[in-house]
């Protein structure tokens, strides 16, 4: 037999790393056979619905639940007064603040949770919430974060008055949450003072919502006989939820089981713990029956975890050739009424200090102030690592402004400032060690693919005809894979992740991870990693996640951490199994381990054809014929604490044509080159990139959570909130380079968030570019037709 061909055939049959294996998840999703939280039905289950505040800021004078309780089918109405004896009327947030579970004396934002009604069915519950009578006294409302720390601002958090030591810093004002800084202020200021050229640009990264198709919800079930609480909950971090529920309820962690069933998208919206969960759990404990609570769409958009709301100023100091000498970034962060950001504990502004981007910047200073306003809490990372979208936006926008000021092409200025290939690993002046990169190659590949010079020529002609055409360019670097537990923890739990792999006697595999898939395709890709490591076909490898009773402890899936951390744990656990398998193979073949070599799916005795044991042979032997002194079985667990983050990067280019009459923008072309290191499943990567670009398009071009002066949220339905369909979505062109991560066991970096992080500033870059010849340096998102038309009008470009 042709051994090369045979080897290739065996390799292919593994469906391992690098192949576009079809998603294992799709069969059930495409057939509508997924099992989501709202599909869970339990005997005797009751339904909860929430009474919410119509006001953004008001004192609660009284709550009368009598009429609601009198409605047949209503079992309970919980208010803060009911939770107070349990000390559960407030709960700790992941950011070191506290949040009201049910409004205690005051409401701080419109739609805040005031009372939970529990009834026989959803319909009775919905009628009952209308019968709960709440008397409010309206208070002055604070909407604008720029006014939060003024003398005349109303004080929002009466519970914090006088407590000037916050979780992260001293507070300067009762509406101040924290100040956080990175870099060297004085050194940076000195460079700015002496610089040949400086630019400064204010920009608002508006408030948006991740808006997963499945809203948040849970089914809490307290079994009073065995004392066990089971909660089905659509969570991106089920193990952390278990720990928090145990801490809040006083139940031993072994008596709490959290199950994340199929999840209909998370995008950061499902990391935190929400009042609805806590109130439902209390209701189940009190009533002794399962209680289901599921948000409707308006509740989801209005109350659970928004993203962004960063008011930023980016400043660059450079020489006349555009070589950057220093970066200064100031941020005013609107966190809403409670600080319930989901960031690693020591990073109240997430990884905003990745704002030095892909560039070799000698010195920088970042200053972030977080403030309270009368808006829903949140500040999660919507399809990005912690605040990385904001960081990439501010540096990429400010780079464009610098290029414009100096009259240097925006591709050229990036070329001049990139961290060079040979500089990696490169430590940024704000403290990240970029693991690997080849930015020049990525950029040139994109410019060639789209004929960048040709596009610029075309743009000149169009401008001469009075037409509006823009070219956007972004070269981003992300930081994902949180993270090394020496710097990253959540509530004190280090941000490692885990995998447990069991090889059965017949050579099939069951593996469980501490992460949880929510569209990423873990059941497909983790199996590919194991297949390549162990030489067992991925079709015989089952992946399970999300049940805290069975899977090893992990921090969950967000911030593109599954592949960098969970994927690493999977590879390392597989390697532990392989090491044991090698010992068994040596025993079976009666040779020393040193005489063995690995080939695809088997150990072979070097130089002795035919003397070999496949992984299947070894698996069988592991259960009946192991070397003396070795315990039987073939399993391994790995808790992987990464030595560093990973730093995916990319170069994106966008071409837009703007209709001057209407302000409508046509995304003519979008070219996205991503480098996520080793590619596990190219088809899934393409899908991830298409999804991320589409969500990026949504954010840049339409999504927004507009509040009026009274704190009313004006757009909380899908009529107003922009969720693009296939009709609106542009055509995406994708490309890649491969620069493996040197510290990751298989060199993979994570990919799902790059397209979101990278595309958003690309759209803005293109929109501004369409007006750049008219001295426009920046336009705030969303770039919807109405706002663009106003820009056109302000520039006097309308025909009449």
């Amino acid at each position: 037999m042709d051994t090369v061909a045979d080897k290739q055939k065996r390799e292919d049959s593994l469906n391992g790393v690098g192949c576009s294996r079809k998603r294992k998840e799709d069969a059930r999703f495409i057939q509508g056979k997924g099992n989501y939280t709202d599909d869970i039905k339990m005997p005797g289950m009751l339904f909860a619905d929430m009474v919410r505040s119509p006001y953004a800021h008001a004192r609660i004078i009284s709550i009368n639940t009598e009429k609601a309780l009198a409605l047949p089918g209503v079992h309970a109405v919980l208010t803060a007064a009911d939770l107070k004896p349990l000390n559960l009327h407030w709960m700790p947030t992941l950011a070191g603040d506290v949040q009201a579970v049910l409004a205690d004396e005051k409401v701080h934002f419109q739609y805040q949770e005031v009372a939970l009604v529990v009834a026989d069915d959803r319909y009775i519950a919905a009628d009952a919430i209308d019968l709960v009578e709440v008397e409010y006294e309206e208070l002055p409302v604070l909407v604008d974060p720029h006014k939060a720390m003024t003398a005349e601002a109303p004080i929002l958090r009466e519970d914090l008055v006088g407590k000037m030591e916050g979780a992260h810093s001293t507070r300067k004002h009762d509406n101040h949450i924290f100040n956080w800084q990175a870099g060297e202020k004085d050194a940076t200021d000195r460079v700015f003072d002496a610089a040949e050229v400086t630019v400064s640009q204010d920009m608002v990264y508006h408030r948006v919502h991740p808006c997963p198709l499945e809203t948040c919800g849970c089914v809490a079930s307290m079994d009073k006989i065995n004392g066990k609480l089971t909660v089905y909950l659509t969570s991106q971090a089920p193990h952390v939820v278990r720990t928090v529920v145990s801490m809040l309820s006083g139940l031993p962690e072994s008596s709490v089981r959290i199950v994340s069933p199929d999840i209909g998208g998370g995008f950061g919206n499902k990391v935190g713990i929400y009042p609805g969960y806590v109130a439902s759990i209390v209701a189940s404990i009190v009533l002794g029956v399962p209680v289901k609570w599921v948000e409707d769409r308006m509740e989801n958009i209005s109350t659970t975890a928004f993203a962004r709301d960063y008011h930023m100023r980016g400043e660059l100091a450079a020489d006349s050739n555009g070589i950057i000498k220093a970066l200064r970034v100031n941020v005013l962060a609107d966190h809403g009424a409670f600080d319930s950001c989901a960031d690693p504990s020591k990073f109240p502004a997430g990884f905003m200090h990745i704002c030095t981007g892909s560039y070799d910047i000698p010195v920088a200073h970042l200053n972030v102030d977080g403030v309270y306003t009368n808006k829903a809490p949140g500040g999660v990372s919507y399809r990005c690592s912690f605040r990385v979208t904001e960081a990439v936006y501010v540096i990429e926008r400010t780079m464009d402004v610098l290029a414009q000021k100096l009259g240097i092409d925006k591709a050229e200025i990036r070329r001049r400032n990139f961290v060079k290939k040979e500089q990696f690993p490169y430590t940024t002046c704000l403290g990240f060690e970029l693991d690997s990169g080849d930015y020049h190659t990525a950029l040139e590949k994109v410019l060639d693919a789209v004929d960048y010079k040709g596009l610029r020529r075309e743009q000149e002609e169009k401008r001469a005809n009075g037409e509006l055409m823009g070219i956007g360019l972004v070269t981003f670097t992300e930081v994902v894979g949180a993270g090394p537990s020496k710097s990253c923890d959540i509530l004190g739990v280090g941000m490692f992740d885990s995998a447990e792999i069991r090889v059965h006697p017949t050579g099939s595999v069951m593996a469980r991870m501490g992460t949880i898939t929510q569209g990423q395709g873990h059941q497909t890709t983790y199996a590919q990693i194991i297949a390549s490591e162990l030489g067992i076909t991925s079709d015989e490898i089952a992946i399970e996640e999300g049940d805290t009773d069975t899977s090893p402890y992990g921090l969950g899936t967000y911030g593109s951490r599954s592949t960098p951390v969970g994927g690493a744990a999977t590879a390392v656990a597989a390697r532990k199994i392989k090491a044991k398998a090698k010992k068994i193979a040596a025993h079976l073949l009666e040779v020393s381990e040193d005489d063995l070599e690995w080939e695809v799916d088997r150990f072979k005795v070097k130089g002795v054809p035919g003397q070999e044991k496949t992984m299947k042979d070894i698996a069988w032997a592991a259960y009946n014929n192991v070397p003396e002194g070795m315990e039987p079985g073939l399993e391994a667990v790995d808790y992987y604490d990464p030595p560093n983050f990973t730093f995916p990067f990319g170069a994106y280019l966008c071409v837009v044509d703007i209709d001057k009459d209407t302000g409508v923008t046509d995304i003519r072309r979008f070219y996205a080159l991503d480098d996520c290191g080793t590619r596990i499943n190219p088809m899934i990567i393409d899908g991830q990139i298409h999804g991320g670009l589409t969500e990026g398009y949504a954010v840049a071009m339409g999504q927004e959570m507009p509040y009026d002066e009274e704190g009313n949220l004006l757009g909380n339905t899908l009529m107003d909130y922009f969720l693009p369909t296939f009709v609106e979505t542009p055509k995406w062109e994708t490309d890649y380079t491969v620069t493996p991560s040197p510290h990751h066991p298989i060199g993979a970096k994570g990919v799902a968030e790059s397209p979101h992080v990278g595309s958003i500033p690309t759209f803005t870059s293109a929109m501004v570019d369409a007006f750049a010849h008219l001295d426009v340096t920046h336009m705030d998102m969303p770039h919807n037709a109405y706002r663009v038309w106003k820009q056109i009008k302000a520039l006097g470009l309308l025909d009449n």
Binding site: D130, M719, P724, T725, E728, Y786, W789
Partner: protein, 287 residues
């Protein structure tokens, strides 16, 4: 997103439906349900009694008799789009229906519901004005027919009297020298118009013999841009005239401010949509 309790009655005939409207206070007709049900789910509208007219025979279908096309009020948007008669003799309705909401809504939503609801954001009212449609109405006192022009009185307010039901719509078949256009600016699929405009022109060579311009969602109800029509009637259309027409349309608009835009933007967009529809209509008339 759960409505309050309501009673439901499936009407067996128009007379039955009218009787139920008379017998039950605040009863509402249920056609396609795609305007009414969301309002009930949001509890913006309390309808204690719904009279479902989906099962009534004879309220559906499209026929042509001489120069007149008759469309049953319960004909769905999807049925309008697929109709051979409309594609040949009234393509304006087909084009407008294609821009209504999304496929799911178009499969359930009806032309009669769209017209009778009185929502200025609905697409068909402006189309009815441009087509000079006649509306066939049944009530306790029998049948009457009234022109669409004058039917739309305000937001959720039409010339329908108490207990009356819109049963059919009559529109003229396209004749030689007639052209039409519909343009709608919307933020995304499924949205109401920022502004829309339906135009029908009758040409005499290069000269516009007659024109009707209907406007969507730029006033409390669908309106005719009569001042603009007067500018065009009897003229050859050129850029200078179109500029004047745009100004007249902006002046005719009185839109509500919402996230789609302020008064100025919406009024200007109505003018742009009208201009595009006029140009399209004149082009169509040549074919």
């Amino acid at each position: 997103m759960i409505p309050s309790c309501f009673e439901y009655h499936k009407a067996t005939s128009i007379a039955d439906a009218i009787a139920k409207l008379q017998d039950n206070e605040d009863a509402k007709l249920l056609a396609g349900g795609h305007s009414l049900l969301p309002m009930m789910k949001l509890r913006f509208s309390e309808a204690p009694y719904l009279v479902d007219i989906n099962g009534i025979e004879g309220l559906k279908g499209i026929s042509i008799d001489g120069d007149t096309i008759t469309i049953g009020a319960m004909t769905t948007e999807s049925e309008l789009i697929r109709s051979d008669i409309l594609q040949q003799y009234c393509p304006l309705l087909v084009e407008a229906a294609k821009l209504v909401a999304d496929p799911q809504v178009r499969n359930k939503g009806t032309i009669g519901g769209d017209v009778a609801h009185g929502d200025p954001g609905n697409d068909h009212p402006a189309v009815m004005l441009a087509l000079d449609a006649q509306l066939v109405i049944h009530g306790p006192d029998g049948e009457r027919m009234i022109p669409a022009n004058g039917f739309f009185l305000g937001t959720y307010w039409t010339a329908l009297e108490e207990y009356e039901i819109l049963v059919a719509i009559k529109v003229p078949a396209l004749t030689s020298g007639t052209g039409h256009g519909y343009h709608k600016l919307k933020r995304k699929t499924g949205d109401y118009a920022v502004a829309g405009s339906a135009v029908v022109v009758e040409m005499n060579g290069d000269v516009v013999r007659d024109i009707r311009i209907g406007l969507t969602n730029v006033a409390p109800m669908a309106i005719r841009a009569e001042a603009a029509e007067d500018l065009i009637r009897g003229k050859r259309v050129d850029d200078v005239l179109l500029k004047a027409v745009e100004k007249a349309i902006v002046a005719a608009c009185d839109p509500a401010v919402d996230l789609r835009g302020d008064e100025e933007y919406k009024s200007h967009m109505a003018a742009i949509m009208a201009r595009r529809s006029i140009i399209q209509a004149i082009e169509n008339a040549k074919e």
